[in-house]
Symmetry: C4
Subunit: 245 residues, 4 copies
């Protein structure tokens, strides 16, 4: 607490709180899960709501953390146990400025099977170069599955490597982006693409499908840099209509 | 009626009625199903709503029952036929203080097949040590499938044994917990995990999946003791906003 | 129009119009489909809404038909092309007093495959003695699939025989009951059971499942005679809250 | 802009904007996708909303385009990148007066597998004569998947040929009709039929199903010319109730 905390614009706090509610509204998070943002002023800090159901988040719930995931101003508010996911990815990935951690029902199957997620269509192009699986057992043996300290966060970040999405065995997933709009977009379309892939495999088996190839994925994902703004405008507006911020 | 009935705090009655509506809102129950609570003052009694669609339950509908499932104060209100599920489990399982009985659509398949439910992720960790199937035919032959007396309730409780969830062939399931929040949480995540497992099997078959192992399940389920409070706060708040209690 | 039409109690008209909206609200019908009621006063007549999306039906839209499906008081209102489904089943089945025709998405698959629907749980017990498939091609060759005259209605009724539900190849299904509450209940739980059976087959294949056997089905369906009233109270109340009748 | 633009009746603009919202409400489009209408006065022009999430479209957002997809009156409003889909189909198909482009989740699988869509029931009869797959790779190699110029629009239109629906590999689909009501109806029931076909294949495999044959499809699709008006009345009314136009 001895460190001075840079100011954050109210609109940033509102957008981050709205992102929590957007993810809840679209079924990516339920009572659990979280979204964070690297601090716009100090890249060695990040912003994240206090521990509660994302659908209840307000701008006043946003806490500032160091990249070691120490809270600078939590006060009486609780910290998410798994905030280390965020801090350690921010450390290892300077290109990432926003992260979503979720347990969305359509994505979890891909973390407990051996067949890879694919990019089923252009909006899910960021999956075309793969989504590695983090199995916490490999380094930490029998655990409660939670990424509850820096060491586990580092292991997850190492699995993520340079990808946009990592799956977590019997737990959930992580989606990253260079800004809040893109990480939310990727979390949503990871869920959508998981549903599409499941239906595709049911129809045709795993071997005969023709999803995006790597180069198509790279080209289409570039378009999503702007496409995500259009989705954000729709989703952000829905929250604004409901809560007035 | 000759027995004196201990008072119940209004907030307990409201929470139990709200639990009925939470389960309806989240698709665990439809027009049928019920949730009960061991009496907080007298452990030889339990509280349960009168027979009606759970979405219509109010605090004034809660009836007090003996563990033999005799109503102490039903008056003109109807008793659920299957209340014996609750009474007999409370008798056999002193650690259980709340029970949900439901027929949720994603769970029923697991009662009519031979492949076991697994714990697909940490929130469903309570399934990692198994969910036994109660087949009413084994002891009672051809019936209307209902657990409508003590003998059938005992048979179900014996199948449940020391587990948290029991499946009922061609009928539904039961989820238990040491408190109301935990039984509701387990009922919800049994449904969620059933959906996840179904998608997983579609993607990869039954043999190659890697769900929680038993020890991971035990460790992760301990976390759910507190996680269920966070979910409850969200779900309870939704009901409060709707009905004002 | 020369025939005098017996009066119908306003509450009957309201209930039948509400049934249309209940079926729409629960996903059994979309913009199409219809529910009818044998006339409570004259068993040689039946009541059915005019041709429009069920979700828009009001009590003032109910028309009286002869069992030949001639409208007695349609006036400027349109008749459903497929009203012959209703008239011909009422003729052949004196035990049936209400019929639902729908194209619900989970049920249609069972009309275009060779594997029978089963009773997956007690609420769907009426399926345990089978749901025959009406293939309009067999008698009528290439058609627009619609049951648009008495001859086609008779053929469908003959396929239905003494069952509660008939499937119509590449079209939809019919659910019958001795009263309005029961036909609506059966239409809803045919849809629910279809979803459950689909998931079950995905999990375990068709051969190893253990649904209700015939005698269990018979016993459990008797309970649904009263269970359907509880569901109706919930569903009817939802419509009342919305439209005030 | 030098060309004079024919007037469009306000009710046409309102209906086209409402069509965007209908498609969003029914899950055919999410933040993306678009619907257009050939200009009722000048068949060498078409009307289409400006680039934004369809659920936000208002009558004031409708832009007039030439069949080369040059905007005549966009002003400060953005044009959809993929408007060339519309212009080129209008050029090649004088019978088509309205087009929907969408990425609905149940349809995408059919664009990345080799098994054809079928007409699962009468409302999807327009699929009985096939839905060809446009694979942009064949002519254009590695792309961002978007139909972003006339050449790509022509290639898509050539794949569509005389059909009502074309699938686009790893992207989405296109549905056409002779009027707005029919293109919207076909977009909705392409999605519904995709879901039904997926469930059917899960239940029975691809080989043993009995969907509409070609002649049944032709006959049943003729009925949809009027059926789509009934669906439109329901769907249009929902939007009217929400936005007042």
């Amino acid at each position: 607490m001895s460190r001075s905390i840079p100011d954050t614009e109210p609109s940033i706090l509102a957008d981050l709180a709205a992102a929590s509610r957007i993810l809840a509204k679209r079924g990516v998070v339920d009572a659990f899960g979280h979204v964070s943002l690297r601090h716009p002023v100090d890249s060695n800090l990040y912003l994240m709501p206090s521990a509660q159901a994302p659908a209840l988040t307000t701008p006043g719930d946003i806490i500032t953390y160091t990249l070691n995931s120490d809270a600078l101003n939590s006060g009486t508010r609780s910290n998410f146990i798994e905030r280390f996911i965020h801090g350690e990815i921010y450390k290892m990935r300077p290109d990432v400025n926003s992260i979503v951690h979720s347990h969305s029902a359509s994505v979890i199957p891909f973390g407990i099977i051996k067949k890879p997620m694919v990019g089923t269509f252009h909006n899910a192009a960021f999956l075309a170069n793969g989504a590695p699986i983090f199995d916490i057992r490999e380094k930490f043996g029998q655990t409660d599955m939670l990424v509850c300290d820096c060491a586990k966060g580092i292991a997850l970040a190492e699995t993520l490597e340079d990808k946009h999405v990592a799956l977590m065995r019997a737990h959930g997933s992580v989606a990253c982006g260079k800004n809040l709009q893109l990480s939310v977009f990727r979390a949503v379309y990871t869920e959508v693409s998981a549903r599409i892939q499941t239906a595709t495999v049911m129809l045709a088996g795993s071997d005969s499908i023709e999803p995006l190839d790597q180069e198509e994925g790279r080209l289409a994902d570039a378009v999503n840099d702007t496409a995500c703004k259009r989705a954000w405008r729709l989703w952000r507006n829905e929250i604004l209509m409901e809560v007035g911020w």
